[in-house]
Structure formats: structure tokens, C-alpha cells
């Protein structure tokens, strides 16, 4: 009697588990439909998305030959790396500095940080452009949109997120660590490298990744604040986002984009796999260290 009840319950939980997993994978599949379609149809030469005209690497070849796309890709990567680097430097210094501020001025800095977080991207972009136009009209006539205004726009986009990912690491840090370093003969500047930096490094890294993601994906701020420069030379700077947007407004998605997406997807997948392996390894890491003095 008792046993039969238990099996019934087991059946019930099994049904719930199967149902739940089915739901998760179905949702995942639906979310991945466009990406999967892009990946699959990247291996055919067909211009029309959705029709299969035999397996080929043709799109990959044309992708790398397409100078416009390559330029846009280059612009996107350079802009992302540069703006993320600036955001990381500014945001990390900001977080470390504001951490030492008194309560009231700290609150002011925090709300200043919150403005770009809650403001929609398009409002942020518009306000920047208006200021640049204002500067051109009333302050310095030679001032116009350029690579630099684009860079500023991208820094605005990611700066608060760097600050916000470094801040919790500072809060978690034992303040006595800094004092311990001073006590052991480190100057304040040295202590910053020796103690504070290692403690907030994970926050800096995740801030950098977030900044990269935001910049690589951005369309609005780019299309508002860009001028000429970078690899585009005297022409308007194109990134992957602006280039693809201009193309799909007129017609179907350029077929080379399927190849590009596949490459990005593989790269992201690789990064995720490596990070996952590293994380599990770190968790399992025993406390056998190599003797550094023999090394």
C-alpha cells in the first residue's frame, strides 16, 4: 500500500520534470530560431534566406572579400575596445574614489550614475547630440560630430555599468586590508595596486565584458553621435549595426551576415565553454601550489 503511493508520487514528480524541461527547451528553441536559421543557411550560397541551394562556403569567402563589411567590423571592434577601455579606467577610478566620499556627496554621485542607467538610450543619444550641436552653434563653430563624439557616446553607454560592477566588490572588501598594507610599509598608492586592485579585479573584468557587449550591439547612440573617421576615412563611420540596419531597410538581410553571425556565435560559444571549464576547475582546485621560489 505504502509503496504504491510512493510510486504514484514519483510518477507525478517525473511528469512535472519532463513537462518543465519540455517547456524550457521549447522556449529556448523558439528564441534560437532566427540564430539557428542564420547558422544553417550560412552554409549555402543562396541569396534568398530560407532557400537551400546546396552546401558551400561561398558566403564565408564573400564575407571576407566584402570591404564594406570588413571596414564596419573593424570599426565596431576598435570602437568597442577603445570605449570599454576608457569606461573601465574612468569607472574603476570613479568607484574607488567615490567609495571614500562622505555619505551626502556619495549619494549625489550615485544618483548621477543612475541617470544614464534609467534613461532610455535614445534620450541619452538625443541629449548628447543636442549638446554637440549646441557647442557647434554657440561655442566653437568648427565643432562637429566625429569619431570623438561617437567615442564619448559609447563611453556614456557603458560607464555607469562599470561603476556599478566595481562598487559591490569595494563594499565586500575588508577595509582593514588597506590599513594592513599601510601598516606593512606600503604607500597609499602601492596599497591600491597590492590590495584594492586584486580585490576588485573580478568586478573590473565583468564591467569590461558588459561594456564590450553594450558597445558591440549598439545602434542608436552610434547612429546619433557618429561623424567621419576611423576605417571609414572621410565617410560616415559605419559599424555592423548601422550597416546592417541601412541594408535591411531596403531589402533582405545581406547573405554574408549569416556567415558573420555563425562566426560570432561560434566565438561566443567557445568563450562560454572555456569560462565554464575554468570555473569548474577553479571550484575543484585543491590547495597544491607550485613552490614559487623554485619556479
Amino acid at each position: 500500500m505504502v509503496r504504491r503511493v510512493r510510486t504514484l508520487e514519483e510518477k507525478k514528480t517525473l511528469a512535472v520534470r519532463v513537462g518543465a524541461n519540455f517547456y524550457i527547451y521549447l522556449l529556448l528553441f523558439l528564441m534560437y530560431v532566427p540564430v539557428l536559421a542564420l547558422v544553417i543557411f550560412s552554409f549555402t550560397g543562396s541569396v534568398n534566406f530560407g532557400t537551400w541551394s546546396g552546401f558551400s562556403f561561398e558566403l564565408y569567402a564573400t564575407l571576407f572579400q566584402d570591404e564594406e563589411i570588413m571596414r564596419a567590423l573593424g570599426n565596431t571592434v576598435i570602437l568597442a575596445l577603445l570605449s570599454s577601455f576608457c569606461s573601465v579606467v574612468l569607472g574603476t577610478l570613479g568607484a574607488v574614489g567615490v567609495h571614500e566620499w562622505k555619505r551626502r556627496s556619495k549619494a549625489v554621485a550615485e544618483s548621477l550614475t543612475q541617470i544614464p542607467v534609467v534613461t532610455p538610450e535614445i534620450v541619452l543619444a538625443l541629449s548628447l547630440v543636442i549638446m554637440f550641436v549646441f557647442l557647434g552653434n554657440y561655442v566653437y563653430a568648427g565643432f562637429g560630430l566625429s569619431f570623438w563624439t561617437l567615442l564619448i557616446g559609447h563611453i556614456c553607454l557603458s560607464l555607469p555599468f562599470v561603476y556599478l560592477s566595481v562598487k559591490p566588490k569595494l563594499l565586500q572588501m575588508d577595509p582593514a586590508l588597506y590599513e594592513a598594507a599601510l601598516d606593512l610599509g606600503s604607500t597609499p598608492r602601492k596599497a591600491l595596486y597590492q590590495v584594492t586592485l586584486p580585490a576588485i579585479l573580478p568586478g573590473i573584468l565583468s564591467g569590461f565584458l558588459l561594456a564590450l557587449t553594450l558597445s558591440l550591439d549598439d545602434f542608436i547612440v552610434t547612429s546619433f553621435t557618429r561623424g567621419s573617421g576611423l576605417l571609414s576615412g572621410a565617410q560616415m563611420i559605419e559599424t555592423i549595426s548601422t550597416l546592417v540596419q541601412a541594408r535591411i531597410k531596403k531589402g533582405p538581410l545581406p547573405p554574408q551576415m549569416r556567415a558573420l553571425t555563425t562566426l560570432i556565435f561560434l566565438f561566443v560559444l567557445l568563450v562560454v565553454i572555456v569560462v565554464t571549464i575554468l570555473m569548474t576547475k577553479k571550484r575543484k582546485k585543491s590547495h597544491h601550489h607550485i613552490d614559487r621560489r623554485n619556479a
Binding site: 520534470r17 567609495h99 554621485a109 548621477l112 543636442i130 553571425t261 565554464t276
Partner: protein, 275 residues
């Protein structure tokens, strides 16, 4: 040993606070001042003289009012659908009995790392292929695109809240004779309320202000706040654009007031107390 008691050494502990100055300067120059300029431009004319022209124009043009209404509806619908789809997914993902695979969560957020303009283009092409093109079904096509883009942003905050659910509390409630439905209403829902709120914040406003998705998928037939502001930008209508942006900022202020009140709600804060 010679020890200096200079004034400089007295301030050794204070130096760090100056590190924040470039950061603050940047925020003031490129965030605060531009935001203030928006307010200034919203209430002035092309020559920079004080004027209520933009305001009058906005409220007297039915097409502009309809942008507001359409944006609100699109925002609400997307948020609701994302919550309905994402809530159970987040719950299952966070339940160790159902999902033991942490990588699955990463899979859910991985589309975020693929350029969203390309994804939007692909979605549009696929939808046209099955007859859901922007020409005939602009609203449905846009909605599908929005949900697809914003679902990861819903699942992530919900998932982090669900991880912190006190499952002992739920078991206790079930033990005391609550039906699964009652356990959900009385316990799970209040506990996960902070996640629901932050998930909604991640979707509602961004949808209203989005440009690419609605422009591409509806083939320009649906004009959201974002599209409207983009148009003002393209035509260099700074004053009208600023006024729309200002309306948006006011909406954000209002929604923040509402969520703040929600967070003060005892039910919500009970959920928040678990953090």
C-alpha cells in the same frame, strides 16, 4: 631615521577620493549637462528663446498623442507576454529538482551577444516567409520581435530572484495543507515580486523607446516613441525631439515612483528581505 611631519603626509588617507574626479567630470559634462539641455530645448524655439511651441504642438497633434498610446500598449503587451513566458522558465531553471544544468541559463542569455540588428533582420525575413510580414501584420510581427529580443532580459532578473526563493517556506505551506495554487499565490508570488518588478523595468521602457525592431518588423507602419524621436533627429527638429524626450523622462520618473512604492509594500519587502 628622519621622519617628516609634513602637512601632505597628514592627508595621506584623503587622497583616494580625488580619483573619482575624472569620472564625475565626465558624468557632469556628458550626462548631466545634456539632460539639462533637453529640458531647456523642450521649452524654447529654434532661436533659443523661451517658448511653449513644442508642448503645444505635441498635445494638439493627434498623431503624436497616438504615438504615446501605441508605445504604452506595445510596452505593456510585450512586458506581459515576456513575464508570462519567462516566469515559469525562470522558476524551472532555478529549481534544482528540475534543472541541474547551470549552462542552460547561459544559453538563455547567449542571444544577447549576437548583434541584435542582424537578429532582427533575420526574424523579419523568416516572418515574411511564413506570411507574417510587416505589410499585413505589423503589430503581430513587431510584438514577436520585441518578445524575442527582450525575453532574456526578463528571465535573468526573475532567475536570480527565484534562486533565493525560500523553498522551505513553500514546503511548510504545502505541509500545512495549502493547495499548490494557494502556495503559489500566497508564497511564491510575493517572494518573487522584486524579480517581477525589475524584469518589468528591463522591458517596458526599452520597448517604448526602441527604434530598430519596430521600424524593421512593421516596415515603418508602427511609430513608437523611439521612432518618433529618431525622426525628429533625422530632421534636426531639436525642440520637438527634446519635448518628446522630456515626456519620456517624466514617464520614467513616474514609473520609478510607482516601483518605489511597491518596494515599500510589506509583501514586496518581505520578498526583498530574503536578499
Amino acid at each position: 631615521m628622519q621622519w617628516k611631519n609634513s602637512k601632505a603626509s597628514r592627508f595621506f588617507s584623503l587622497k583616494r577620493k580625488y580619483l573619482a574626479f575624472p569620472y564625475i567630470l565626465f558624468l557632469v559634462l556628458f550626462i548631466l549637462i545634456p539632460t539639462l539641455l533637453i529640458i531647456f530645448y523642450a521649452f524654447s524655439d529654434e532661436n533659443g528663446n523661451p517658448s511653449a511651441e513644442a508642448m503645444i504642438e505635441f498635445f494638439s497633434t493627434p498623431s503624436k498623442i497616438s504615438v504615446l498610446v501605441v508605445s504604452l500598449f506595445m510596452g505593456l503587451q510585450t512586458t506581459l507576454i515576456c513575464l508570462l513566458l519567462g516566469y515559469p522558465a525562470a522558476y524551472f531553471l532555478a529549481d534544482k529538482k528540475i534543472n541541474k544544468n547551470a549552462v542552460l541559463v547561459v544559453l538563455f542569455i547567449m542571444p544577447m551577444w549576437i548583434n541584435f540588428v542582424i537578429r532582427t533582420g533575420a526574424t523579419r525575413d523568416l516572418l515574411s516567409a511564413i506570411g507574417l510580414d510587416g505589410g499585413t501584420h505589423p503589430w503581430e510581427a513587431t510584438l514577436i520581435g520585441m518578445v524575442q529580443n527582450y525575453l532574456p532580459f526578463t528571465i535573468l532578473p526573475l532567475y536570480t530572484t527565484m534562486l533565493k526563493l525560500d523553498r522551505a517556506q513553500m514546503e511548510a505551506a504545502a505541509d500545512l495543507g495549502c493547495s499548490p495554487f494557494k502556495v503559489f499565490i500566497k508564497n511564491v508570488l510575493p517572494q518573487s515580486l522584486p524579480g517581477i518588478i525589475s524584469a518589468s523595468e528591463m522591458v517596458f521602457m526599452p520597448v517604448m523607446s526602441s527604434y530598430v525592431i519596430s521600424d524593421t518588423l512593421s516596415e515603418g507602419k508602427i511609430t513608437l516613441f523611439g521612432n518618433s524621436i529618431y525622426l525628429n533627429f533625422s530632421n534636426s527638429q531639436w525642440n520637438a525631439g527634446s519635448f518628446m524626450a522630456l515626456i519620456f523622462l517624466v514617464l520614467i520618473g513616474l514609473s520609478m515612483l510607482v516601483t518605489r512604492r511597491f518596494e515599500k509594500d510589506p509583501v514586496a519587502s518581505r520578498g526583498g528581505g530574503i536578499w
